[in-house]
Amino acid sequence: MSLRRRATQDLPAAFIIAALLALLWLGLAEGEGWWFGGPAILAVVLMTLHLSPVRAQPLHPLGLLRFVAYFISQSLYGGLDVAGRALHPRLPLLIEKRQIAVQLPDGPARTVLVGTISLLPGTLAVDLEDDLLTVHGIAGDPMANIRRLEKRVADLFGLPDAGMRI
């Protein structure tokens, strides 16, 4: 692979990481020490691309907004739901385990999907083997929740929503 192609591929990711790191530095150093922070960010970006290469993935602004709103409301609901079940004297748990085929492409979209499942009401990601995702549920209709979540994630990355097979 030529250096040039590599650079054009890595450049967007480098900018995003640098921007986020600048925010982190602002938070840590409270706006001081940019003479050190600036070069440090540059060095960290280069080291990150060397150690743990990532590719930038364009986000859809509206999708991002909807995803964040969905995530926050569902997180709250999920927390309340599981807290209620834990404190309920009879411990109501509707345990089921299912496998579903993930339609989202490999990469960040799948990471977000698997990472989010366990925070939303009643679902827990258990395994991901190739395209087959194993989900453990304790409440409600986990399949419907995951289908909705997959659509939100597809929106987030501006991907066509392919639907999901069970």
Binding site: L93, I95, V114, G115, L119, A125, V126
Partner: protein
């Protein structure tokens, strides 16, 4: 001060979520259900505590710092929950 009361309320409710998550950890029957309790309750609990502290702090660096803490903690929690669940699934069904 009104903001102080917001902070107290949010942090208290956040702690209550942690407490409920811990009760779930102790009461739920197996590894998978316990992971349910930990990830979800701690996510909301930590989120509310960070939000309360953000209101208390009120400066941009402080808010950024707390935001990073929340995002990192929940991402680490959800990934480790996934890895524990996966390991437990492959290791068999004993607790």
């Amino acid at each position: 001060m009104l903001t102080d009361w917001w902070t107290i309320a949010l942090v208290t409710v956040g702690c209550a979520f942690f407490l409920a998550g811990t009760v779930g950890l102790l009461r739920f029957p197996d590894v998978h259900t316990r992971l349910h309790a930990l990830t979800k309750a701690d996510n909301v609990g930590l989120g509310l505590i960070c939000l309360g502290l953000m209101i208390h702090d009120g400066t941009l660096p402080g808010i950024l710092r707390l935001g990073f803490i929340w995002i990192l903690a929940i991402f680490a929690a959800t990934v480790s929950a996934f890895l524990i669940a996966r390991w437990h699934e492959s290791a068999g069904t004993e607790d």
